[in-house]
């Protein structure tokens, strides 16, 4: 056990606290602590015991590091039961709707990611090179994938034909709901996409640029989004493999003790650059 002075404990907690503010995308709240943050990050990078201390603290709070930027640690919840986890209710609160379904939101999340990162190399490419997406692109991706599982060859058919798939759910939703402003109008692709995009922008994962001539909003990814996605996508992919092979440890245990991630957080440097 390494010796820690009292100051280190304080600083480690301070770094977690400030990183929470940073991860929430609240630049204004963080601006007054920028100097302190830089110092703490320097200590984090230089001292391994301090790193362990911070990681222990994060683990105790059921948080994980997605990436480390010059402005702080990007954090997310370790699993769905964590106190800090974003839930469906949060999406609901944002638009005063409570009819969110996790499967639909997952599909929309993936569609947005697929529109932004069509190739696997894009997940490692500098975000400046990735270009923008608009709602139209995401709809295109959804259209493409909505009848995806129908095209899967028969031998790959691990499912009873009676079981509905995520794609089927999406297929049975209208693309756009003309009555969307009425109460209880029901979900549509467009409503779901806008809900997810709005949340991503508000948490600083995506940057939104309004093009006044075209009256369309262009979305650009940030490195934080890329890093977060890389981890979440790996999780999603593995959990699918578990479904496919019949062993399903992730989903079974997630209710009780969903810990011990095989992949450790990537402690690689990622300069967070503004994309304008």
């Amino acid at each position: 056990m390494t010796y820690f002075d009292e100051e280190s404990f304080h600083q480690a907690n301070r770094l977690i606290y400030l990183s929470l503010i940073y991860s929430n995308g609240n630049r204004r709240a963080l601006s007054q602590y920028m100097e302190e943050m830089t110092e703490l990050l320097q200590k984090f990078r230089s001292s391994e015991p301090f790193q362990q201390l911070v990681e222990a603290g994060l683990k105790a709070m059921e948080l994980q590091i997605l990436t480390i930027t010059n402005d702080g640690l990007r954090l997310s919840a370790r699993h769905a039961n964590s106190f800090f986890a974003t839930t469906l209710t949060d999406y609901g609160k944002m638009l005063a709707r409570s009819d969110n379904k996790a499967a639909d939101l997952l599909c929309v999340h993936c569609a947005i990611a697929t529109a932004l990162f069509p190739n696997e190399t894009d997940l490692d490419a500098p975000v400046e090179d990735l270009g923008v997406v608009m709602v139209d692109d995401i709809i295109q991706v959804l259209r493409r994938f909505a009848d995806q599982e129908q095209k899967l060859p028969a031998e790959d058919d691990i499912l009873d034909p009676q079981v509905r798939t995520a794609a089927q759910r999406i297929r049975e939703l209208p693309e756009e709901n003309p009555d969307s402003k009425r109460a209880g109008a029901g979900a549509s692709w467009l409503a779901l996409i806008n809900r997810v995009l709005e949340h991503l922008v508000s948490t600083d994962y995506l940057l939104a640029f309004e093009d006044h001539q075209e009256e369309a909003i262009e979305y650009r990814p940030t490195p934080a989004y890329q890093a977060a996605l890389r981890q979440a996508a790996v999780y999603a992919f593995h959990s699918f493999r578990n479904v496919a092979t019949g062993q399903d440890p992730q989903l079974k245990t997630s209710a009780t003790a969903p810990d011990e991630e095989p992949e450790s957080p990537q402690l690689t440097e990622q300069p967070e650059t503004e994309v304008n």
């Binding site: 919840a77 379904k101 996790a102 990611a113």
Partner: protein
């Protein structure tokens, strides 16, 4: 295509009564929304003294007319808006009424047409697909068929939503010949035929253009697959490639037959209309377009059929050791996730969202800060100051408001003294109170005796409200081990913990010397 549909398609080899009946039932479900139309719109439309329009119009006719109008409008645009469709429908309905010499209010008729349209898009059920249960005799099971006739499509243009016919919608209108090969290009050919026969050559030209775009899109898809074969063959499913190639060959033969027939149709028309110069020109152009389309489709088929060869050319890469840490492509992940059963997808989704989205800010409940917030809200409400307004009625008695003993002047004086004393060096509260009792100030005797109390009040306000303390640059530290008992000049007793007051103002010294 689901397993069931595959059985239906292959059904010809093993036909039984059960499969035949099931197929007929399944196909006829498509017409059900249209048949149900009169039953769904049962209420009287319009006022009582007017004729009930429902009894005089042919709703089925209007429903099919709606489908036709959308089919025609969407030839040269992605979708048609509700207003646009109803505009086209209105004269048709009016003509029906005129045939029976019935006068109807335009708005009543519009209302009725709106209802017809709303039913066809399933507006009452939130624009979700029509959903019907049917019995599958071959499998001894019940299935549900869900489909749209008219579907809202996202275009990202304009303020109104756009609607287009689905494949089912086309099938319902162009007859009950449901077959899987009715893909976009084949339907496009059907449309072209319809337009030529109606003499709308301009629109037919646009439709060929659209067909060409469909081809291009398919070609792009093929190009994408080829690129991913070259770049990352692991991400490509070999069986998928074969399926694409087979599909391509089948479709292409069919499309080619169709196009050939269209070509003949155009040439036929050319002969008939040989006297009209402009029409001839357009028809020739159309024939040319169709020919080009044919060539393009042939190319596409070739490309599709070459895909398996491409795959085997690059297949040696499959045996390469994969480098560690490479991500699966987003495409693969998404495809897999879309094929997951919905319950599992929901479980994955909850986890995904939690791990992906940043940690949530959890507000902690704190009674103190809540009372604070309420307080501030109340203060804002009273800010208008109307309770201090002059009462002007002569007869009214003036209400006596509470006048505090510690008035503004007194408090100001106390604050001044507090500042001056604290500015130099830290001071104990007891010292401060003694000082307040002693020195002569410009106040009257009566107020002078209240000065220590005013001073104590000032200090307490700063203790309670840290914002006030910050404003006055005061730092107050309770001295846990010291207690004070102090008799004040007006006979009151001050007792409690001792407080140490110090100034945090950077220029406090300067002010102190100035004021002294």
């Amino acid at each position: 295509m689901t397993a069931f549909e595959t059985i239906l398609e292959e059904g010809t080899s093993s036909r039984t009564l059960a499969t035949d009946v099931t197929k007929a039932v399944r196909s006829s479900l498509i017409m059900r929304p249209i048949y149900e139309l009169p039953a769904r719109i049962y209420r009287q439309v319009g006022l009582d003294n007017e004729p009930n329009l429902l009894e005089h119009v042919d709703l089925m006719w209007l429903a099919f007319a709606t489908l036709d109008i959308i089919a025609e409008l969407t030839e040269y645009q992605v979708g048609a808006s509700r207003t646009e469709i109803l505009q086209h429908l209105f004269p048709l309905a009016e003509a029906q009424l005129q045939a029976q010499q019935i006068q109807a209010q335009p708005h009543a008729l519009e209302h009725l047409l709106g209802k017809v349209f709303d039913h066809l898009v399933n507006r009452d059920n939130r624009y979700l697909p029509f959903s019907y249960r049917f019995y599958d005799g071959a499998q001894h099971q019940f299935h549900t068929r869900k489909f749209w006739l008219i579907k809202a499509v996202y275009t990202g243009q304009g303020k109104e939503s756009f609607f287009a016919l689905t494949d089912e919608g086309y099938v319902a209108y162009f007859g009950l010949h449901e077959s899987s090969a009715l893909d976009a290009a084949a339907i496009g050919n059907l449309r072209i035929k319809l337009l030529i026969e109606r003499g709308k050559v301009d629109d037919a030209l646009t439709a060929t253009e659209q067909n060409r775009k469909q081809c291009l899109r398919k070609a792009n898809e093929v190009r994408d697959v080829r690129r991913s074969i070259e770049r990352n063959i692991q991400a490509v499913d070999f069986r998928h490639i074969h399926q694409l190639a087979d599909e391509g060959a089948d479709q292409a033969t069919q499309i080619q037959q169709e196009s050939g027939r269209l070509h003949h149709l155009v040439l036929d028309n050319l002969d008939k209309n040989s006297d009209e110069e402009e029409l001839r020109y357009k028809l020739q152009q159309l024939a040319e377009n169709l020919e080009q389309l044919n060539i393009q489709q042939m190319k596409l088929v070739n490309q599709l059929q070459k895909l398996p060869d491409d795959f085997s050319d690059h297949s040696h890469k499959l045996f390469r050791r994969r480098s560690i840490g490479i991500m699966p492509a987003m495409d693969t992940i998404t495809r897999r996730l879309f094929a997951t059963p919905e319950a599992q997808a929901a479980a994955v989704g909850v986890e995904f969202i939690a791990r992906f989205d940043p940690p949530l800010r959890q507000p902690l409940f704190d009674p103190g800060s809540m009372i604070d917030a309420i307080d501030r809200a109340l203060e804002r409400q009273n800010a208008s100051g109307d309770i201090y307004q002059q009462v002007e009625e002569a007869a009214a008695e003036l209400i006596e408001y509470f006048q505090p003993e510690l008035n503004d002047a007194l408090m100001g004086e106390a604050l001044k003294l507090l500042f001056n004393t604290v500015a130099g060096e830290p001071v104990l509260l007891s010292q401060l109170l003694t000082q307040a009792a002693a020195p002569p100030t410009p106040l009257t005797d009566e107020l002078q005796s209240l000065l220590p109390i005013a001073m104590a009040m000032q200090v307490f306000q700063c203790v309670v409200d840290h914002r006030l303390a910050e404003k006055y640059h005061l730092q107050i530290e309770p001295q846990a081990d010291q207690h004070v008992r102090l008799l004040l000049p007006d006979g009151r007793l001050y007792r409690g913990h001792e407080l140490l007051l110090s100034s945090t103002h950077p220029s406090s010294l300067a002010i102190a010397t100035d004021q002294a």
